[in-house]
Subunit: 204 residues, 4 copies
DNA sequence: GATGAATGAGAGTTCATTCAT
DNA sequence: TATGAATGAACTCTCATTCAT
């Protein structure tokens, strides 16, 4: 009544999503109940259905919103390098993508935990969204690696596709431990470390 | 009549497990029904319970057997390097671990697809088994990297733990694409490629 | 709207219990289905589980509530004779116990029918409750008979334990017929009759 | 092969019935499985169905055979007094009925335990058999009490029907404790005690 | 006769979703 | 808008019964 009704409505949506994230992260999607989500959100069960059509939609919103944000973070990181075609710029863009991921995860610690085991059992609709996002990102990385190869910055021993997966695999796996660390290093540091490992390897 | 009855009983178990793998891989554990597993196996629902105590046990058998096999493959790969403490031996053992993973996945294509999204929502009992296996493996890799560092074979720019995760992340991610490839390269080739990438990086 | 919501919730509980009593009395516990109970109560099956955790709990409530009531009726009947240790007072207390049983059964005609065949197959948990109640009651009767013996009011030809069982056996068996009688005599009359039969025998 | 096949067949039937009695006595009818009965009998499950049509038939045989035996025991006890119409003879017959029950129970200790909680939930068919037997017996007792009344041996303070139930209630209840006693008194003693209690009461 | 693997109807229970208030 | 009691479809698991060997 006092506050704007629109803001209130958005608040309630956000409140529910937040609760859903917490609950799903803890127990997994299928094991969680709408009852529990409502309880954690401090509202009645029926109210959930005023803001979302189904339990699945909760999941959809949870995931696709984040994917969108990650995608746009990556977008920003690579946008500036679109025009310049120097090898350095491409490498910088790649480094930017890596950093964008760590930056994203650092603000979404819980989401990562949550996502860790959910992909692949989200139902075709949703996993498609996630996989599309992931594949899109990987494909973009692949393209950039090809450019880097063309410019002699990356060797051709391995095909770009495999390299792209390798890089993304490193990023995800390291991000996971990094988040578990009670005193994690800075986004800049960890990103640089991983990217350097990717570029130069670990050999002494 | 001709075939041995023992084999027949084992066959039935195997038949059900195979069906379960197919069904779980397609729909995920929670979304799959025992009815569906039975249908795919071509038997009656009750028969499943003659061979397994519960739906969960199906999952257990499916997973823990594989984990055990992967672990033993890794065991073999690293066994010979236990005594020799030369830097080369440690690196060879690491390469062996990488190769063991690809060898394992190459025989378990479907299992990988299946596992991809299941971890983390298997219920505490099972995910513990999987995570224990994974963590054990990662810990072993970490130890080996520390040895390699001590012997001057690996640089100290990054801590061993992060490196271990990075390597395993690369392996899993690359394995996934590799399996999707209709004409995948040999286990030897892909293992070498990944390990080399890890050691030497991708810089031209 | 008019009636209080609390009362409504209690009503539903009572409604279900009533239905369960009817159904269990007719078919026995194990042969009855929750579906049938719900149908008789005129509600959906799931609703039963909003008010009771399980089918067994239905039984628990049905039985233990009554046992408690019977016990408290007996309590009242014997309470006043606690201080006085005259033989007459003990006999009066015994008569009171007998009367308490008939009074109880007269308001629980259906429950008796229902209980008739259920004891002994209620599952350990519940039958324990019932048997405890029964044994407690019988033990109390035994003690009182011993007191009565000590005071010379009851002869020692038979041990008190056997007597106690005999009395309770008479009470239960007579109560059963009494309830089946379309025009039963009053609680006072039947109690007096049975107690007198116990004390004085049937010999002319 | 060696022994007569008929005897062997009867033996197997008896073996199964014995096992069923043990199992049903321990767990109750509905909670027991045919599997368990077969296991206790030391035969295969299917074999049970060669000798009995169904699990229910097991129960039928178990109960109706005993009821028949009890009835015939009572028959014997009362047969001789059919002609003589003296009061003493009637009382002796009543005493005989009481004794017949204790004699029966003394050889069927397990059966009593078993029956204790089963009546009333045997399904209409079976409980009818049991109740018919019981009612028949009670009716016979009632008739004899009427005769005894007519002959001035029993007082008319209570109607014969109630008396009959009282007597039978005493018998059943006392029999139950009596059987539980590790060193039970003789059949003759306990029968006499109960009958005397019924006739003369417990008053000093 | 004897076996025991196989069957499948049916039970108890859960929970996403609806709707009267 | 918000509620939460009510619903009923769907699931896992049991077990009496059958039948090929």
């Amino acid at each position: 009544m006092a506050s704007s009704p629109v803001a209130s409505s958005d608040d309630k949506r956000a409140l529910i999503l937040e609760a859903a994230l917490r609950v799903f992260a803890e127990s997994g999607f299928h094991t969680s109940t709408v009852d529990k989500v409502a309880e954690v959100a401090g509202i009645a069960k029926g109210t959930v259905y005023l803001y979302f059509h189904s339990k699945n939609e909760l999941m959809d919103e949870l995931v696709s919103g984040r994917i969108a944000r990650l995608t746009s973070l990556v977008e920003e990181a690579t946008a500036q390098s679109v025009d310049e075609l120097t090898g350095e710029a491409v490498l910088a863009a790649l480094a930017g993508i890596v950093k964008a991921h760590f930056a994203f995860y650092s603000t979404e610690r819980q989401f990562l935990t949550f996502l860790a085991g959910q992909i692949g059992m989200l139902g075709p609709n949703l996993s498609t969204a996630v996989l599309d996002g992931t594949q899109l990102l990987t494909a973009r990385v692949e393209t950039m690696l090809e450019q880097a190869m063309a410019m002699g910055k990356v060797r051709r021993a391995t095909d770009a596709r495999t390299m792209a997966f390798a890089l993304m695999g490193m990023v995800h796996a390291v991000a996971y431990t990094w988040l578990m660390d009670p005193e994690p290093s800075s986004v800049d540091d960890i990103s640089a470390e991983v990217f350097d490992m990717f570029m130069a390897g670990v050999r002494a």
